[in-house]
C-alpha cells in the first residue's frame, strides 16, 4: 500500500486523534520521509517567518496545545529542534504526526535531530518500550530509527525581521501596560500567553541602552561589547545597539544542543557525514549534546563526557558566521525560554509540565519576516562561504525580533487519563 495523498491526510487525522497508524503505513511513511530528508543538507535553509520549537518528548497533548497556540500546519511554518521522543507516554504518535506533516508539507515544517533521536537513548528512555507495547514488535521502532539517521543536524533561518510588528492584542495585565514601550518604538521582544495576550514587551534601543551599549570600536580585540543585562529578568535582553544598522539581522542557527570545538564555521557542519547513529564523540555528538554555561571558553562537563561553552565562544561563532542568534533546546528551562550571553543564544523548551510533574511552562519562538527593509540580502541555501565576513569590519549583528508564546500543559481532561493522585500503598 502507499501513503500518498488522501491516505496521508487520513493518517494525519488518525494521529491527531492520538491513535497509532498500522505498521505497514508506518513503514511506508518512514520510507517517504527518508527519501525527503536525504535531499536536505546537514544544515537546512529556512526562510522566516518561522516558529521555532524545543523538546517535545512524547507529550502528544501538549504538542496539540502548541499547535493551538502557535497556529496549525500549514498556516504556520515550524522548525522543531529535536527530542520528539522518550519520557512522555505518546512518543510514537507525536513523532509520526510530525513526520506525516513533514511528508505532507515539506516546505512548511523542518525537523532536526536531537540526542534522543538515537537507537541507544530510545532503548533506555521509553520510545523502544512504547513501540513494543503498541505494536508487539520492534519493527516500528526500527523504521523510526532509520529516519532519525537522516534528520538534519541544524537549520539556518534567514530573512528574519529585526523588529516585531507589535501584536494587536490586549495586555494580560492592564497595570503593566504603562511600563511597556509604546507602539511607536521598535519592538525587539514580545512575550504572549496562551490566550495571545501581551505579557511583556521590550523595545530595542530603549532608554536602557544608552547607558549599556558602548558601540564596539574594535571588534578584533573585543568581539562584542557586553552590555549589562537590562531586559526583563530571564530574557537577557540587552537592547545593545551597534550603530544604526537597524534593518538587517544576521541568520539564526538552530541546533539541538550547542556548539563544538571542532566546528568554527557553519560550513564545517555541512561537511559532516550525518547518516549514522549519533556517535559518542566528535562534532556531530557535540552539536546534539553540548550546553552553554557561565564559563570562559570551553570546559569539560564534570560527568566525564560532553562540552560546555561560554559567552565568548558563542559571540565569536556568531560574529564569524554572521549570525545574530543561536537557538537551541536540550535543557529544561522553567520559563519556557532562556536567553543568555547578551541574547546571543536562547534555549527554547516546548514540553510543559515536563514528565507530567515538573509544573513548568513551555515556549515557542516566532521570528517574523523581514518586511523588505532593504538592508537584508537573502542567501542561497547551503553554499555561501560565511567565513568571508571575517575580513570585513562588521559589528555584531542585532538580534532578530523575537516573539515568545508561553503556554501551559494541555488540560488534564483532554488527555483521556485521570489526574494523577498518589495511590496510597503499604510501602515499607
Amino acid at each position: 500500500m502507499s501513503i500518498g495523498g488522501s491516505d496521508l491526510d487520513q493518517a494525519i487525522l488518525q494521529l491527531r486523534a492520538c491513535r497509532p497508524i498500522p505498521e505497514s503505513q508506518v513503514r511506508e511513511l518512514c520510507y517517504k520521509a527518508r527519501e525527503l530528508l536525504i535531499e536536505e543538507g546537514n544544515v537546512v535553509g529556512v526562510d522566516a517567518p518561522v516558529t521555532i520549537c524545543g523538546d517535545i518528548h512524547g507529550q502528544f497533548h501538549d504538542l496539540m496545545e502548541l499547535f493551538r497556540v502557535g497556529g496549525d500546519v500549514p498556516d504556520t511554518n515550524y522548525l522543531f529542534m529535536g527530542d520528539f521522543v522518550d519520557r512522555g507516554f505518546y512518543s510514537l504518535e507525536s513523532f509520526l504526526l510530525l513526520l506525516c506533516l513533514k511528508v505532507r508539507y515539506p516546505d512548511r515544517i523542518t525537523l532536526i535531530r536531537g540526542n534522543h533521536e538515537s537507537r541507544q537513548i530510545t532503548t533506555v528512555y521509553g520510545f523502544y518500550d512504547e513501540c513494543l507495547r503498541k505494536y508487539g514488535s520492534a519493527n516500528v521502532w526500527r523504521y523510526c530509527c532509520e529516519v532519525f539517521d537522516y534528520l538534519a543536524l541544524g537549520a539556518l533561518v534567514s530573512g528574519a525581521a529585526t523588529t516585531l510588528e507589535p501584536s494587536d492584542a490586549p495586555f494580560a495585565d492592564l497595570n503593566s501596560q504603562a511600563s511597556m514601550p509604546g507602539l511607536d518604538q521598535e519592538i525587539e521582544i514580545e512575550t504572549l500567553n496562551a490566550s495571545g495576550e501581551v505579557m511583556f514587551r521590550f523595545a530595542r534601543n530603549s532608554e536602557q541602552s544608552s547607558s549599556a551599549a558602548e558601540p564596539s570600536q574594535n571588534p578584533s580585540s573585543s568581539p562584542l561589547p557586553t552590555p549589562a543585562r537590562t531586559g526583563a529578568p530571564g530574557t537577557g535582553a540587552s537592547s545593545s545597539s551597534y550603530g544604526s544598522m537597524g534593518s538587517s539581522t544576521g541568520a539564526v542557527l538552530c541546533v539541538h544542543g550547542g556548539l563544538s570545538p571542532l566546528i568554527d564555521t557553519i560550513d564545517k557542519i555541512r561537511l559532516l557525514d550525518r547518516k549514522q547513529e549519533v556517535p559518542h564523540e566528535g562534532a556531530m555528538c557535540d552539536l546534539l549534546w553540548s550546553d552553554p554555561d557561565e564559563i570562559d571558553g570551553w570546559g569539560l562537563s564534570p560527568r566525564g563526557a560532553g562540552f560546555l561553552f561560554g559567552a565568548d565562544i558563542v559571540k565569536c561563532f556568531n560574529y564569524k558566521n554572521d549570525l545574530s542568534l543561536i537557538a537551541r533546546a536540550h535543557q529544561l528551562v522553567m520559563e519556557g525560554f532562556k536567553e543568555m550571553f547578551d541574547s546571543t543564544i536562547v534555549t527554547v523548551w516546548s514540553a510543559p509540565n515536563y514528565c507530567y510533574r515538573c509544573g513548568n511552562v513551555a515556549a515557542i519562538l516566532e521570528l517574523g519576516e523581514d518586511g523588505g527593509n532593504g538592508g537584508f540580502v537573502s542567501r542561497a541555501n547551503g553554499d555561501v562561504n560565511r567565513a568571508q565576513v571575517l575580513g570585513e569590519k562588521v559589528q555584531g549583528r542585532e538580534g532578530p525580533g523575537r516573539r515568545y508564546r508561553v503556554f501551559d500543559a494541555a488540560p488534564q481532561d483532554s488527555r483521556g487519563m485521570p489526574a494523577k493522585k498518589p495511590v496510597a500503598d503499604y510501602f515499607l
Binding site: H116, I121, T123, V124, Y125, D129, A172, D173, S176, T191, N193, M199, F200, A232, P233, G234, T235, P261, L262, H280, E281, G282, W289, D293, I295, G297, W298, G299, L300, S301, P302, R303, G304, A305, G306, Q331, L332, V333, M334, E335, G336, F337, K338, N353, Y354, C355, R357, C358, G359, N360, V361, Y404, V406, P422, V423, A424, D425, Y426, F427, L428
Partner: protein
C-alpha cells in the same frame, strides 16, 4: 496579579498543593507539593549551595512530622538534602563512555582540560532529615522498626508522595530523592529514598525510614545505603525470567539485589 520572570503570571495553574496535613495524637504530619523552582530561586539556591541544583528541583516541597506539644520536628526538604552532596568533586562518578570520550578528546584538544565546577553531579546524599530542635536528639539503638505492625492492613488515613529533586544525569541515568508518608490510626511510616542509576555503571539506593508510634511518642530512624555495579545486577537478573529492563527501573525490586554499604539505627521519645 503579580508577574514573574519573562512577564508571565506567577500564578499559572500548578500541579500539587500548598499544603495538606493530618494530626494524630498530637503529631502533625504535613506535606507540600509545588512545581519546580523558576530561574530566580534556582540562581539563589545555586549561590547558597555552591553547586548547580538538579534539573528538576522541587525547592518548595516539604514533608514534616511535628510533635506540637514540645515543638520537636523532623523535616525533609531539597535544600538540606543537596547541602549534603559532595561539593569538592572527590566522590565524582564518570559516565560509562567517559574513558573512550576523553582519550579521543585529549588528543584533539589539549587546551580543553578544565573540568567545570567539579562536584558530585549524581546528587548522592546521605540526608536523614532536618531536626531543627536539638532536644530530644536521636540516640543509637538496636530496636528495629516493628515491621509486623506496618504489615497489618490498618486503614491509611493520610498518604502522600513528594518529590524533592530529580536529575536525568544528562541522559546518562537518573537520580531522584522523594519522600513517601503513610499515617495509620496508631502509627506512621515515612520513607525518604534517594535512587540513582548511572547507566552501565552503578546503582545506589539510600533509604531513610522514620517510624512513629503515636501512643508512646517513640520515633525510630533507620538509614540504609545500598550500592551495586550495574553489570552485577544485570547478571543477577539474567538468571531470573523477569523483564530485565523493567526491573532495572524499579527501586523496590532492585533494593534486594544491591549490597548494603552503610547502615544506622536511632531512636528518640518525644513525650
Amino acid at each position: 496579579m503579580a508577574t514573574g520572570l519573562n512577564g508571565f503570571p506567577v500564578d499559572t495553574h500548578l500541579p500539587g498543593h500548598e499544603g495538606t496535613s493530618i494530626t494524630r495524637h498530637g503529631f502533625r504530619i504535613t506535606t507540600r507539593k509545588l512545581p519546580i523552582l523558576k530561574a530566580g530561586p534556582i540562581e539563589e539556591m545555586s549561590k547558597k549551595l555552591g553547586i548547580t541544583p538538579p534539573e528538576m528541583i522541587f525547592g518548595d516541597n516539604l514533608v514534616t512530622v511535628e510533635y506540637k506539644e514540645s515543638g520537636w520536628k523532623i523535616e525533609f526538604n531539597a535544600f538540606d538534602a543537596l547541602d549534603r552532596v559532595d561539593k569538592t568533586g572527590e566522590a565524582m562518578l564518570k559516565v560509562s563512555y567517559s574513558k573512550e570520550w576523553q582519550q579521543n578528546r585529549s588528543k584533539q584538544f589539549e587546551d580543553i582540560k578544565e573540568v567545570v565546577k567539579p562536584f558530585d553531579w549524581s546528587y548522592s546524599t546521605d540526608y536523614k532529615g532536618t531536626t531543627p530542635v536539638p532536644n530530644p536528639s536521636f540516640e543509637p539503638t538496636t530496636t528495629p522498626i516493628p515491621l509486623h505492625l506496618l504489615k497489618r492492613p490498618d486503614p491509611i488515613l493520610f498518604f502522600d508522595d513528594v518529590m524533592l529533586y530529580e536529575d536525568e544525569l544528562a541522559d546518562n541515568g537518573i537520580a531522584m530523592l522523594s519522600v513517601k508518608a503513610r499515617v495509620m490510626p496508631e502509627r506512621m511510616l515515612l520513607l525518604c529514598r534517594f535512587f540513582m542509576r548511572l547507566d552501565d555503571v552503578l546503582f545506589r539506593i539510600r533509604d531513610t525510614r522514620v517510624y512513629v508510634e503515636f501512643a508512646t511518642g517513640e520515633v525510630i530512624r533507620e538509614y540504609t545505603a545500598r550500592e551495586e555495579k550495574v553489570e552485577a545486577v544485570r547478571e543477577a537478573l539474567a538468571r531470573t525470567r523477569d523483564d530485565v529492563p523493567a526491573q532495572m527501573r524499579d527501586p523496590n525490586k532492585l533494593a534486594e539485589l544491591l549490597s548494603i554499604v552503610d547502615k544506622s539505627l536511632e531512636r528518640l521519645v518525644v513525650k
